[in-house]
């Protein structure tokens, strides 16, 4: 007996479901914030699972799910050099300028 070309060769659940990162907007006017992650076979299921897992107590008004492997991140091993630029540039902060101390509304 021949098997159709696209038939699953294994029980489907043996392939682990992809990992999704979940971002929740807690109320209007705020940004989405990372809440955690979960496994789901597709985006629609990921959204439903995220709702059940991360908003059981009205924690959100909007959810994003992002495939975890679609996220690019900075390399933790090069944290020194990657974030080097702002070092020693205190003049980017208002607190650097002390001569105006005591002057109102400045």
């Amino acid at each position: 007996m021949s098997t159709p070309a696209n038939a699953p060769t294994n029980e489907p659940h043996e392939t682990p479901w992809p990992l999704w990162e979940v971002f929740v907007r807690s109320s209007r006017g705020l940004s989405h914030v990372h809440a955690g992650s979960l496994h789901a076979p597709d985006a629609a299921m990921a959204l439903r699972n995220a709702r059940d897992l991360y908003t059981r107590r009205n924690e959100g008004v909007s959810i994003w799910v992002v495939p975890a492997d679609a996220i690019s991140s900075s390399d933790p091993d090069s944290k020194g050099s990657f974030f080097e630029s702002p070092q020693g540039k205190d003049y980017r902060h208002a607190t650097y300028y002390t001569k105006s101390e005591g002057v109102k509304h400045l």
């Binding site: 696209n6 699953p8 029980e11 489907p12 659940h13 392939t15 682990p16 479901w17 990992l19 955690g36 992650s37 979960l38 496994h39 789901a40 076979p41 597709d42 629609a44 299921m45 059940d52 897992l53 059981r56 107590r57 991140s73 933790p76 091993d77």
Partner: protein, 331 residues
């Protein structure tokens, strides 16, 4: 630092690798000494990773198995309100398990492997869930004593040095306080009910008290891993310290319930400023951990059944996702 003692550096490392390891260790030691947090992609000693993986996965398994003693009472809850509350609580336990599996996965173990280990009986979970919940009052005692002990244990874990674990614990602790309060209310209502109801509440407290105290783990002088965990800022307080703190809280709360704790030896030690309790049966604790508790076999069997019974759901979801993807590709 003590962590270096457990760090075995294989002899065959190349000079570059060795340098990398040493730089990693120095970085790790600095983060820990600053009481900062380690994140998944940071270098960490293998023993730290293994300790965390064991602790977090055991914790996750406990939440999942912990659904059973209470799920057992959903169909027999005395009112619709109690039933809704119990379902919400059991759903929370499932959620807690999932938060923790996510945290454990960041250490490089797949979720499927953890699930397999649990079902195969290779993984441990909290000994407490191997005791039977025989009456409705047990729902009260579990919430008040078991969840109460869990909270005592878990609040300091919010500051655990491993970022994903701490973050999962923050979420869990927020939700646990509802669990303990609803348990307290069940007991309070029974305690103020008929003499038979009050007796049922007292009986439940009598049975759950000692197992709840043992949830904090063996006494400090018999807890070999505690020291290292504390050096790594995973654990913040010793088992005995947390247990003593818990006893102190329960002593006051049980008065409000109008019930008693089954322990004649509870006293506040003026010298140490700590609460002391009567002897606990640590042989029983070891037996239950070793799989000889009253419900070990039943709990695992039920978990296996649930996993098998859910197979068609997982298959259907995967197949649906595959078809949707095909459609999208064709369009």
């Amino acid at each position: 630092m003590a962590s270096q003692n457990l760090q075995s550096v294989p002899a065959e490392l190349s000079p570059e690798e060795l340098e990398r390891e040493q730089a990693g260790q120095a970085y790790f030691d600095r983060i820990i000494s600053e009481d900062s947090r380690i994140e998944p992609r940071d270098w960490m000693p293998e023993a730290y990773r293994k300790t965390l993986l064991r602790q977090i996965s055991q914790h996750a398994h406990s939440e999942i198995i912990g659904m059973q003693p209470e799920a057992n009472w959903i169909t027999r809850a005395p009112s619709l309100k109690r039933k809704a509350i119990l379902m919400a609580k059991v759903q929370d336990e499932a959620g807690h398990g999932l938060y923790l599996y996510s945290a454990a996965e960041t250490l490089g173990q797949s979720r499927d492997k953890m699930m397999e280990d649990l079902i195969a009986g290779k993984a441990r979970y909290s000994s407490i869930f191997n005791y039977p919940a025989v009456s409705w009052a047990d729902m009260g005692a579990i919430g008040w004593l078991v969840d109460g002990a869990a909270i005592c244990n878990q609040v300091p874990l919010c500051r655990a040095s491993y970022g994903p674990y701490g973050r999962a614990m923050v979420r869990i602790c927020k939700e646990e306080s509802f669990h303990q309060r609803q348990g307290f209310e069940i007991l309070l209502e029974l305690s103020n009910g008929t003499p038979a109801q009050k007796q049922m509440a007292q009986d439940a407290v009598n049975r759950w008290y000692a197992p709840a105290l043992m949830m904090f783990g063996p006494p400090d002088d018999d807890s070999p891993n505690s020291k290292q965990s504390m050096a790594w800022n995973i654990k913040r307080f010793s088992n005995d310290e947390l247990r003593s703190r818990f006893v102190g809280m329960m002593v006051e709360q049980v008065k409000v319930l109008g019930l008693t704790l089954p322990d004649q030896d509870i006293r506040f030690n003026e010298e140490t400023k700590k609460w002391e309790h009567g002897p606990l049966d640590w042989n029983e604790f070891k037996d239950v951990l070793a799989g000889k508790g009253p419900c070990n076999a039943q709990r695992l069997e039920r978990r296996r059944e649930a996993h098998d019974d859910g197979a068609w759901v997982r298959e259907a979801a995967a197949e649906y996702a595959r078809k949707q993807a095909e459609k999208e590709f064709a369009a």
